[in-house]
């Protein structure tokens, strides 16, 4: 990222900030969608992120940490959006509003549904850790800086979230088997 562009954006240069929106917008949206599992909520979270960034950017002392800083704001915005979207209740069949690629030889639809159901049972914080690690590829230290947590706590939270997902998937599988549903 061009440091001169960031400095101009910090000085409230519209054109420079718009360039940042174009540069980071897709990635922030991708992360927000994967946390919220909702396209409208993800759009709102990203919009809120950039509005706060516009207001607070002059205070950013380490321009090289801009992406981490934006992720921090985004996770908070997602937390707010989760309260608006409401919690998913177990027992309902989840239908996402995104159509996966037609050629889906790697996974069955049932497996994707299981993952969706299990993921939606996680808290915002747990979802953020999962997405930042598995989708963006951030390390425990990097996620810790985004979320303001010690790296050890991030690793523990990641373990715990994955364990919860696996437990949820296994519980669903046992429930379906015992009810005789295919």
């Amino acid at each position: 990222m061009d440091s001169d562009l960031i400095e101009r954006a910090k000085r409230r240069d519209n054109e420079a900030f718009t360039a940042l929106v174009h540069h980071f917008g897709d990635r922030l949206y991708a992360v927000a969608y994967r946390i919220l599992r909702d396209t409208s909520g993800a759009e709102d979270a990203v919009q809120q992120t950039f509005l706060i960034a516009w207001r607070e950017l002059p205070k950013l002392r380490e321009p090289q940490r801009l992406q981490s800083w934006l992720f921090t704001i985004l996770v908070n915005a997602c937390r707010t959006e989760m309260r608006h979207v409401g919690r998913w209740r177990p027992g309902l069949r989840v239908v996402t509003d995104f159509e996966p690629p037609v050629d889906d030889s790697q996974r069955t639809i049932a497996q994707r549904d299981e993952l969706e159901r299990a993921f939606r049972r996680l808290s915002t914080e747990q979802r953020a850790v999962i997405v930042l690690h598995h989708y963006i590829g951030l390390s425990g230290d990097e996620i810790g800086r985004v979320l303001g947590l010690p790296a050890g706590t991030v690793r523990s939270r990641l373990h715990y979230a994955r364990q919860q997902m696996r437990a949820a998937i296994e519980a669903d599988a046992r429930a379906i088997a015992s009810e005789g549903l295919a």
Binding site: Y29, Q47, R87, Q106, R162, A168
Partner: protein
């Protein structure tokens, strides 16, 4: 279930699916909001703006409705016909139902915590979040130091590591399959400062409670894969139960339920509020077991 590595690959692949481009309309809204902010208050996301407008409209409508009803009640036979000004007969007030939590937490009362065997518990207070069916409950979704609290159920034979830090090389050949075997293995686990076992009874099933401790100065980064592991389960190469943070206290309730070794691990810290620990114990003691 697949190994942890397989699960991670599946998770990576699943997360790769999904939209990854911010729609042009959203970019335009952001840019427009930035422009508008230079002229006035920072714009709101469009859904929140619509919600606030709807709320304002509803508030205005409510005010109008109150005015209309008030006029009808006090106008002595006016808009609602004769007798509208008479003293209305009191309507019996129903006992208000306890509203369901709006934060996603579990309502107070019975819930199925785990299956095989089925374990039903009573949630005694607000703030409990659950992975129902998966055997996990957390207080305020916080299981971390310094004041978290949470519980997890295992209903299977367990491989108790002799050393929770060097777990990858201290896993026993055979698992503990009885209450006595498990208690003995846990009492002997290094670094845990295990308490003396205490007899317990839950739903008529007798068993043993034992409390383990994670050293306050434990450095998880120096342990195998950065994990302080208590025990493993069949079919998995990494710990099935591991500590969240140094200083964690694990109060284990161990029972044989119709031939199945059941462990309810209630975890907390020295700084966890006493009432949260008491709530966890109450949850365990409320447990009833089915098939």
């Amino acid at each position: 279930m697949n190994t942890q590595l397989d699960f991670d690959r599946i998770l990576d692949s699943w997360l790769a699916d999904g939209p990854s481009e911010l729609p042009d309309r959203a970019v335009s809204r952001i840019v427009q909001s930035i422009d508008d902010s230079k002229r006035g208050p920072i714009g709101l996301p469009w859904r929140e703006m619509m919600n606030r407008l709807a709320l304002a409209a509803a508030s205005l409508a409510a005010v109008v409705l109150v005015v209309v009803i008030g006029f009808g009640l006090f106008s002595g036979g006016g808009m609602f016909g004769p007798g509208a000004g008479a003293t209305p007969s009191p309507t019996p007030s129903a006992t208000p139902a306890t509203p369901a939590p709006t934060d996603g937490s579990l309502a107070q009362g019975p819930h199925v915590l785990s299956k095989t065997p089925t374990i039903t518990v009573a949630i005694p207070a607000p703030g409990w979040f659950g992975e129902l069916g998966g055997g996990i409950l957390t207080k305020n979704e916080n299981v971390d130091a310094p004041d978290g609290a949470g519980m997890i159920v295992f209903a299977e034979d367990l491989y108790v590591y002799r050393d929770p830090c060097e777990w990858s090389t201290t896993k026993p050949e055979t698992p503990a399959t009885t209450v006595d075997e498990l208690v003995a293995a846990l009492s002997a686990q290094s670094l845990r400062d295990a308490s003396a076992p205490v007899d317990i009874t839950v739903d008529g099933y007798t068993g043993t409670s034992i409390t383990l401790h994670v050293p306050d100065d434990a450095v998880f980064g120096e342990c195998d894969q950065g994990t302080f592991g208590s025990w493993g389960v069949a079919g998995e190469s990494t710990p099935g139960r591991y500590a969240q943070d140094p200083g964690q206290i694990d109060e284990l309730w161990i029972m044989d339920v119709n031939g199945v070794l059941v462990v309810i691990d209630t975890a907390y810290y020295e700084a966890t509020p006493t009432e949260h620990v008491d709530e966890m114990r109450a949850i365990v003691q409320s447990a009833t077991f089915g098939q």
